[in-house]
């Protein structure tokens, strides 16, 4: 009787008002979709392969209302709009009449994490095919009722129409569990030439609320009776709470409760600023034992390469008939870098009758649910995680940790909704950073100036310590019944983690690529947008320029000489042409031109960036003056959304590349705000960024949210080398390093 309440989809949907609950209602929904089936082979495309029921993706209500469901989370990339375009297009309904529901463990498919530029490619493909198949089912039903061949019928604006004008609205046609069908492996998709909504620069559905003060973020949630909580984090990794007299804090105005569980310390109060004051008092009362255990931040290259590593050759090809004559080698390093979300992480949690509901801006509601359930010792089915937008995360920031904080505190105050937001210094010090990396490259040119052999070694931690198990969450690590952080694992190729884009896209007769995976993690790390691709593309494309110089070749021409991939060649040519790139051109004084190219993960979107950088000869201060990008992400759903992503990639990468490094002493992270961790400001914004799209109608969607970061970094580095004659290989390429190189 008092056992945990198990949330299931039937219960959640019972109050939804839909006459037809056209959903997958069995326990098989979500975590597994192993319902017995006729096992169509090959598998249907995109995420339909793992969540095959059509009604997991598309729901048609009796009143004709249509909803598309995605297990992915809107993170500010705008794909909620893109999915609405895709579903409207394939269903033949108006864009406005469709709703999109995003990641919610009680309502949507389990699509894992929203990461790796996979959302449109996996979820968009699933929605597109499910929508096409739903449309076909509705047409078949109308054909049956009309006793006409299906091919005589057409669809328009949410209805099936017969040649004589008789029409059935979709809501009239759908019945019982008609859409509870396994997807077929192939769908009859629309001819891209007939697209009305897809391919159009449709305005984003989320922007109006965001520019008028609407409730748009988890930070804006105000549930009835909600109270505020703040966490007091340890001052450093591994610090132990030795003493904490909470009696004075408990008497402060508004304070509801102080929560202490091992090294986890938090305070709850009625109003937000009361909570912050109480947090300060609690922080002052807490005494910690700290351990100096951080490495030397000024010697990261040596630190990383001297840690034990698991070494794997990931590419080995040889052609003994080709040998090099002139050899070059170089090493490139990248520091730890922060996601640096503008809004510190936030979550709301409420425990009601044994069910814990967590509103979170996580990238993975299902893995979060599993981790929170494990942390709290609850059945997974008694935890529900609902995605609500937060500030942009750019990978695994503090979102999951804040969700765990909120849940752990909410357990102590049953029935009361708890809103937790991190403070700025907590986000900066405790988020899992993008890992530091080292690459070593060595190559030689043959007599014709072509690359004869290529050696690439990369040293890196994993690039994902995301939840799944409780041990990934800070709250679970800090509570008295502490969960250990899980053992890190390298992310498998072809996508890879530290070795993402370590395998060159160029064709070399002899090539050898080694991934040195480092299990030890002296600094807390996880996924930062584009993972290892940022540094590996920066290294590869910087080195290509160094080799082009050695060969006396133009950098663009040198790349084309080594690239077979026709789509890649076209992207390079488009960016060069848009930039006005000319062989042998010389930039004006104190300026330089640079080029960078990659196909993200060697399987997603192609992107090339040409840039012009100005370097102040006196101070060394660099400024990106203009950048021209070309991108091929397959069939384009929303061209303006794609351009927005690429512009963002270039500016974000420019900020990483010119300014950013996490700093620390032997004990504490010392980059704890925007003064100590400076990023791009408006005085350094370029004059122009141009993005050229190479649309590929009918081709698969290729992820594009992370394709620009690597090429932009290399392009800027190459332009700085072109401007100064000095090659910088140690990120970030700061004013001081440039000045020192000029003066050397």
């Amino acid at each position: 009787m008092n056992g945990p309440v198990v949330l299931d989809r039937r219960r959640v949907l019972a109050g939804s008002g839909a006459l037809i609950v056209s959903f997958t209602l069995s326990d098989a929904f979500g975590q597994d979709q192993n319902a017995p089936s006729a096992t169509p082979a090959p598998k249907p495309p995109g995420s339909l392969a793992t969540t095959p029921f059509l009604d997991s993706w598309i729901r048609v209500d009796a009143d004709g209302g249509v909803t598309a469901f995605t297990g992915k989370a809107e993170l500010g990339q705008g794909f909620k709009t893109a999915f609405q375009q895709i579903a409207a297009e394939e269903l033949d309904i108006s864009f406005q009449s469709l709703k999109v529901v995003t990641a919610d463990t009680a309502r949507t498919a389990n699509e894992g994490f929203t990461a790796g530029s996979n959302s449109v490619h996996l979820s968009g493909t699933a929605i597109q095919n499910a929508a096409a198949q739903v449309r076909a089912l509705l047409v078949a039903e109308a054909a049956r009722r009309l006793d006409l061949p299906a091919e005589n019928l057409r669809t328009e604006n949410g209805a099936v129409i017969a040649p004589d004008g008789r029409r059935f609205g979709y809501g009239d046609l759908v019945a019982s569990d008609m859409l509870h069908m396994q997807a077929q492996p192939t769908s009859k998709l629309k001819d891209p030439a007939t697209f009305k909504v897809m391919g159009q620069p449709v305005a984003r559905v989320d922007i109006p609320a965001k520019v008028t003060g609407g409730a748009a973020y988890v930070q804006d949630m105000r549930l009835p009776g909600m109270v505020h909580a703040r966490v007091v984090r340890p001052p450093s990794y591994g610090a132990q709470l030795t003493e904490c007299d909470v009696s004075a804090v408990e008497k402060l105005p508004g304070v509801v409760k102080v929560v202490r569980d091992g090294n986890f310390l938090a305070v709850v109060a009625k109003k937000e600023f009361q909570t912050i004051k109480a947090m300060a008092a609690l922080s002052a009362a807490a005494k910690w034992k700290e351990m100096p255990r951080l490495p030397n931040q000024h010697d990261l290259g040596r630190v990383l390469t001297s840690l034990p590593s698991q070494d794997k050759t990931i590419l080995q090809q040889s052609d003994p008939s080709v040998t090099g004559q002139r050899t070059l080698d170089a090493s490139y390093t990248r520091p730890y870098q922060a996601h640096g979300s503008i809004g510190p992480s936030c979550a709301v949690a409420q425990s009601v009758d044994g069910v814990m509901t967590v509103w979170t801006h996580t990238q993975g509601v299902y893995p979060d649910r599993q981790a929170i359930a494990e942390m709290l010792g609850m059945p997974t089915a008694s935890v529900r995680c609902i995605h609500v937008e937060g500030s942009g995360c750019y990978g695994h920031n503090g979102a999951d940790d804040a969700a765990a904080d909120a849940a752990l505190i909410a357990r102590e105050l049953p029935g009361v909704p708890i809103r937790v937001q991190w403070m700025r210094e907590q986000e900066h010090a405790w988020e899992p950073f993008g890992p530091a990396m080292v690459t070593r490259l060595k190559a030689s040119l043959d007599g014709n100036g072509a690359i004869a052999d290529w050696n690439f070694e990369v040293w890196s931690n994993t690039h994902s310590m995301r939840p799944g198990g409780a041990g990934a969450m800070l709250a679970a690590q800090h509570m008295s019944k502490a969960f250990a952080a899980p053992a890190p694992k390298p992310l498998p190729l072809p996508e890879g983690g530290g070795d993402r884009n370590a395998i060159p896209i160029y064709k070399f007769p002899n090539a050898h690529v080694v991934h040195h995976f480092i299990p030890a993690m002296p600094v807390r790390i996880s996924a930062l947008r584009s993972l290892g691709a940022y540094h590996n593309v920066f290294s590869t494309e910087s080195f290509m320029d160094e080799l082009a110089k050695l060969a006396g070749a133009d950098p663009v021409e040198f790349r084309l000489r080594h690239l077979d991939d026709p789509r890649g060649r076209e992207v390079i040519q488009k960016a060069a042409q848009g930039f006005g790139w000319q062989k042998g051109q010389k930039a004006p004084r104190n300026r330089g031109y640079g080029f960078g190219f990659a196909r993200y993960k060697n399987l997603a979107a192609y992107c090339a960036v040409a840039s012009e950088v100005e370097v102040n000869g006196e101070t060394g201060q660099p400024r990106l003056v203009r950048a021209v990008a070309a991108v091929d992400s397959g069939q384009v759903v929303n061209p303006d959304g794609l351009i927005n992503q690429i512009e963002g990639a270039i500016l974000q990468s420019m900020s990483w590349t010119l300014y950013e490094a996490v700093t620390f002493d032997d004990t504490r992270i010392t980059s704890i705000d925007w003064q100590t961790y400076p990023i791009l400001r408006f005085n350094s914004v370029p004059d122009i960024i141009d993005v050229h799209i190479l649309n590929r109608p009918g081709q698969p969607f290729l992820g594009s949210g992370e394709t620009g970061q690597g090429p932009a970094a290399a392009s800027i580095a190459n332009a700085i080398a072109n401007a100064t004659g000095k090659r910088l290989r140690d990120l970030p390429l700061t004013r001081k390093k440039i000045k020192d190189a000029i003066d050397a």
């Binding site: 993170l75 965001k210 930070q219 503008i342 942009g392 974000q652 705000d673």
Partner: protein
Amino acid sequence: MMTLKVNGRDHQIDADPDTPLLYVLRDDLELNAAKFGCGLGQCGACAVIVDGKAVLSCVTPLLLFQDKEVTTLEGLGSIETPAPIQRAFMEEQAAQCGYCIAGMMMQAQALLQRNPKPTDEEIRAAMEPNLCRCGTHMRILRAVHRAAHLMQTADASTVQRSGR
């Protein structure tokens, strides 16, 4: 108790006088636009307009707002009747995650109120206190230029109407 005038209306506020305005706006008045970003006056996400100037509400205590007129993004317009600055940001699709955008818009609004025809350099200088992490800067700059244009057009039409 203190009286605080926000978006043209008086509110009786029961909060300690050292409470930064941001928490009064969000917690007591349930306004969403001004955002907590740093609490240190370093990022601009909390910007509002006070007596025509952009103010960082996360570091400015309530007691300084006696007899002042506070305007938040909500006070400029709504989804149904957006102000020129809001229309401009929608038309330029000048947001990715959008968390910084309300602060950006208030900073820009304050600039355009004192300088209706700013140069690109003046816009960049005025926006300097505000951070964006998604890299939406090019669109934000375009949106501010567009807002300047829209405001002038709106002013012109107002003048025209009143001139009749």
